[in-house]
Symmetry: C2
Subunit: 239 residues, 2 copies
């Protein structure tokens, strides 16, 4: 455990990162007691508030459990991991499933519902795109998105070669908050065709409004997923 005071990375974050690593390495096991705050601070020559903040960061992630009078312990493994604000493309790429995108539509439109969701004037011109997402040759999802005019320069090529969120990232945009609404319904005829749905199989539908750190709208999406191949996993917490 080493703290670099000349680094621009805050001390509490350095500490928290190293402790996180120790947990994911298995050097610290669930249930293991933790050195107490004061001792840890003394050993590393840090102040107690700094150590506390590092520990708090980990409690917020669900990695540690603190109990007054007892001490701090590593949390049950089941509680780890947090749902991230990622996209389907990222999810598939991480699993090595070779995501592929076919752009079905790409145009500038006005749309009352989408503009309202993005908190913009109904007359605002939006970039509307519809994409078919495949894993290998298997269709997975039909994704319809609306973007504010600031991102009207996103090209067809960009969307087909990477994902929407990657395109936004290269523009320095980073969604940090999203409202999602998830439902189940039967596919439309167009969806049946694109997703190659046979027989009576539903789709998992999701609408999403995403915002950046300042609360500015980034994206509004209306996606439908083949129910057979897709579930949404999430972690909810009340801390």
């Amino acid at each position: 455990m080493s703290i670099d005071r000349s680094s621009p990375v805050p001390l509490y974050h350095q500490l928290s990162e190293q402790l996180c690593a120790a947990i994911s390495d298995g050097r610290l096991q669930p249930g293991d007691p933790f050195e107490n705050e004061v001792a840890l601070a003394g050993r590393l020559s840090l102040s107690r508030p700094t150590v506390r903040r590092a520990i708090q960061e980990m409690v917020d992630k669900g990695l540690l459990v603190r109990r007054r009078g007892l001490g701090t312990t590593v949390a049950n493994r089941k509680v780890h991991r947090r749902v991230a604000l990622s996209s389907l493309y990222d999810d598939l790429a991480r699993e090595g499933r070779a995501p592929r995108t076919v752009l079905l539509e790409h145009e500038i439109v006005t749309d009352d519902a989408a503009a309202a969701a993005l908190d913009l004037d109904p007359q605002t011109p939006l970039l509307a795109i519809v994409r078919l997402r495949l894993a290998g040759d298997a269709p997975l999802a039909v994704m319809r998105n609306w973007l504010p005019p600031a991102y009207g320069d996103i090209t067809r090529e960009e969307l087909e070669s990477t994902g929407l969120y990657a395109a936004l990232r290269t523009r320095g945009v980073h969604a940090v908050v999203a409202h999602q609404s998830i439902s189940a319904r039967m596919p439309t005829p167009a969806e049946r065709k694109h997703l190659r749905i046979r027989g009576t199989q539903p789709v998992l539908a999701m609408t999403r409004m995403a915002f950046d750190g300042a609360g500015t709208a980034v994206e509004y999406g209306d996606h439908s997923y083949r129910a057979e191949d897709y579930t949404i996993d999430l972690m909810v917490d009340e801390r």
Copy 2:
């Protein structure tokens, strides 16, 4: 704005609650600049760390946006509200829709999958319950749950008159973390009957593993909702 120093409620929380109220009242509008930390601390005779912590609590909730060098402002309204770890019963009660529960099953069983989800030994006896949830006369969901032996004393009456989470609360248990997995599928014949599903309509299915603050399993559930009447709303954030 008044701070009660004799109250057992921490000062930072008192402040944060009053500021939250001011925002939901509309006294503070989205985009409104916020009094700076130092001035606020001086005016209320609090220390800066205390004020900072109150503000941080609100930033974590998505109510405020802080920008170094600029100041703190009230966040875009769309970004407010966080998905809570609540139950369907609570949701319906809050909307005044008179939730009603019919207990279909209530017995002690062993179940490998449920025990594994709860991180318990496969042989552990679990309380298995199946409930039909209605809003007025309209069926909404079939809910199957498994509970660790510690809650084996939950009675039929308790489950029919209140909700599962209320029953757990009276036992001093409070779920703070849950993993949920959401999917769409066609209903089983039993579900079609109970939920009075006609024609080809899917159900929204959700499994949930809930844990308390110490990481101990509280509940494992497998629920199916009438897709026509139910959507799951959630807020994801990356802070």
